[in-house]
């Protein structure tokens, strides 16, 4: 009886997941028929004219995620090295707990703070580039960096602590200094876990909707010529998540192609975050000693 119930509930849950994927694939079909590959390579999105090109949104999503990662990784790694290698056990737990608690701050609150603090700061900092407002891709990237920082710190700290202390002691016994032990034993052996931390943090950044929605500017069709330039990043943009969180989702439902385009976006997002998460989980797991 217990067994039957357990299996029943499990299959309900798994069924829901399968349904989710199925629904998304099925409902996005119309837009693939309509646009073909132009869906992901097109740079113009004008739903009234039935034009659905998602490249600018894909670009924005990826760029915002990468900016967040590049900003948060050094800081996060450094903090994790400190907590894992230098703090005594009690202090380390206290700091970890603090950082984890703060990781629970809801994204709408981050968004609010982004509006209050980041907008003007970015606007003033980059005045000479003449941004139109403080709502830019860069703003979203910086905000996301703060949001994923706790993830990077926690997971990296776990990875570093997972390196066996016998190895550390043997190295110290040979006369290596603390720093040399960290750099030649702990970090290289924690490589997999550190990589996993980055991937999982990236996954979080790619999937974040509300905070990004509030500060990214939500400007469609802004595909820059030079994708890796500061100027491009100081423009307002539209990520997949900010598009989905907007009003277009509500009005799209009636039209199969339009709705297909929206769901297609969600499917793209699912593929991106799913891949990154799977890689990250795979990475981390295989480092079993």
């Amino acid at each position: 009886m217990t067994r039957a119930l357990s299996w029943f509930f499990s299959l309900v849950a798994l069924g829901a997941v399968a349904l989710l994927v199925g629904v998304f694939v099925w409902q996005s079909l119309p837009v693939w028929h309509h646009e073909g590959w132009g869906y992901v390579t097109g740079t113009k999105w004008f739903f009234r004219q039935k034009e659905f090109g998602t490249l600018p949104m894909i670009y924005s999503t990826v760029i915002v995620g990468l900016i967040a990662l590049v900003l948060a990784a050094p800081l996060g790694f450094g903090a994790a090295i400190f907590t894992a290698e230098y703090l005594p056990r009690r202090a380390r737990l206290a700091v970890k707990v603090l950082i984890e608690l703060l990781a629970g701050v809801p994204s709408v609150v981050y968004g609010l703070l982004g509006i209050l603090l980041l907008r003007d700061w970015i606007y003033n900092l980059f005045e000479k580039f003449e941004p139109l407002s403080g709502d830019t891709l860069l703003t979203a990237g910086v905000l996301l960096a703060v949001m994923i920082l706790p993830t990077i710190v926690t997971l990296s700290d776990d990875a570093l602590r997972g390196v066996s202390s016998a190895q550390r002691r043997a190295a110290r016994g040979l006369g290596l200094t603390h720093a040399e032990t960290v750099l030649s034993i702990a970090i290289p052996q924690a490589k997999r876990g550190l990589g996993a931390a980055l991937l999982l943090a990236l996954g979080r950044a790619l999937g974040e909707t509300i905070a990004v929605f509030l500060v990214v500017g939500r400007q469609d069709n802004n595909m820059p010529e030079h994708i890796f330039s500061l100027r491009a990043w100081l423009e307002a943009g539209q990520t997949i998540t900010s598009k989905l969180g907007g009003s277009e989702t509500n009005i799209a439902y009636g039209d199969p192609v339009h709705w297909g385009a929206m769901i297609g976006l969600a499917l793209l997002l699912l593929i991106m975050t799913g891949t990154v998460t799977l890689l990250g989980t795979g990475f981390g797991k295989r480092s079993d000693a």
Partner: protein, 282 residues
């Protein structure tokens, strides 16, 4: 030279840790500072007036609590079922790993995806329109990985000797589950639920298309067309464009209350998480 490297590494990493902690603590401080003045008993017990410029957040709190409660009720049997299947009923390590991978991947799914799923299935196909139940179900789906994994970890930590003793007495697997495993691992369910609820409380994306509106709802009557107000959505709407200065501190007050709720849920989960950590390390 080697000594200076030693010193340099320690200093730089300490600095990073300081900045990280300062950033995060600073966030909370800003919210507390701006929202503090607005929060009082009246704020918590009155309803919204003047589009958020006056009044309080009572119905928003009620709405959020309704969503959380329904999410928990739905999530629990599903999560416990999944955890038991992974730990007790599945025998091959390969299948277990597959299930766990599925759970971790599900955990990484963006919340807006869940929201859209709920919109299609519950709001449209089931014909419920915006309903508190849709929101609850979607949030439950989001919570499943957290609760399941927490329970699995706790089940793993039950000492094998208890299971052996019970089996030695002739109990079958189902009996062992109820007699030994669940009682000892129940803390995992509690911890996971608290953490899952903490995350769900602050989410907007899953409920913005499925369950919540900005104003005009109190208690839901039935399932169809029964949306609720909610705290995070309230903040989300007010935070956008029309930033009426008179709304100012009430908006921050709402943010502070939400933050307090989330932190509260996380904090009460702490003691049992720390205990598991200790036991794992000793």
């Amino acid at each position: 030279m080697r000594k200076s490297l030693d010193f340099l590494l320690a200093t730089i990493t300490a600095f990073c840790a300081l900045v990280a902690v300062a950033l995060l603590v600073g966030l909370v401080a800003v919210i507390a500072q701006r929202g503090g003045p607005a929060v009082n008993w009246g704020f918590l017990t009155e309803q919204i007036r003047l589009v958020g410029a006056a009044g309080g957040i009572f119905w928003n709190l009620v709405g959020t609590l309704i969503l959380l409660a329904s999410a928990l009720v739905v999530c629990l049997p599903l999560s416990v079922g999944l955890a038991l299947v992974e730990r007790v009923w599945l025998q091959r390590e390969g299948s277990r790993r597959l299930l766990r991978t599925l759970l971790y991947t599900l955990n990484g799914v963006p919340s807006i995806v869940f929201g859209l799923f709920g919109f299609v299935v519950f709001v449209q196909w089931c014909g419920w329109g915006k309903s508190w139940l849709s929101g609850g179900l979607v949030l439950a789906l989001m919570m499943i990985p957290t609760v399941t994994v927490s329970l699995i970890e706790r089940l793993k930590a039950v000492p094998a000797k208890y299971v052996e003793a019970a089996a030695g007495l002739g109990l079958n697997r189902a009996q062992i589950v109820w007699a030994v495993l669940l009682p000892q691992a129940w803390g995992g369910v509690v911890t996971g639920s608290l953490l899952g609820l903490a995350r769900a409380a602050g989410e907007v994306a899953p409920i913005m298309f499925t369950a919540t509106i900005f104003a005009g709802a109190t208690l839901p009557k039935g399932i169809k067309e029964s949306p609720v107000l909610s705290l995070p959505y309230h903040i989300f709407i007010l935070a956008q464009d029309s930033f009426d200065p008179s709304v100012g501190s009430k908006l921050w007050g709402a943010a502070l209350v939400l933050l307090a709720l989330v932190l509260f849920l996380s904090v009460i989960a702490l003691p049992s998480r720390l205990k598991l950590h200790e036991e794992a390390n000793v």
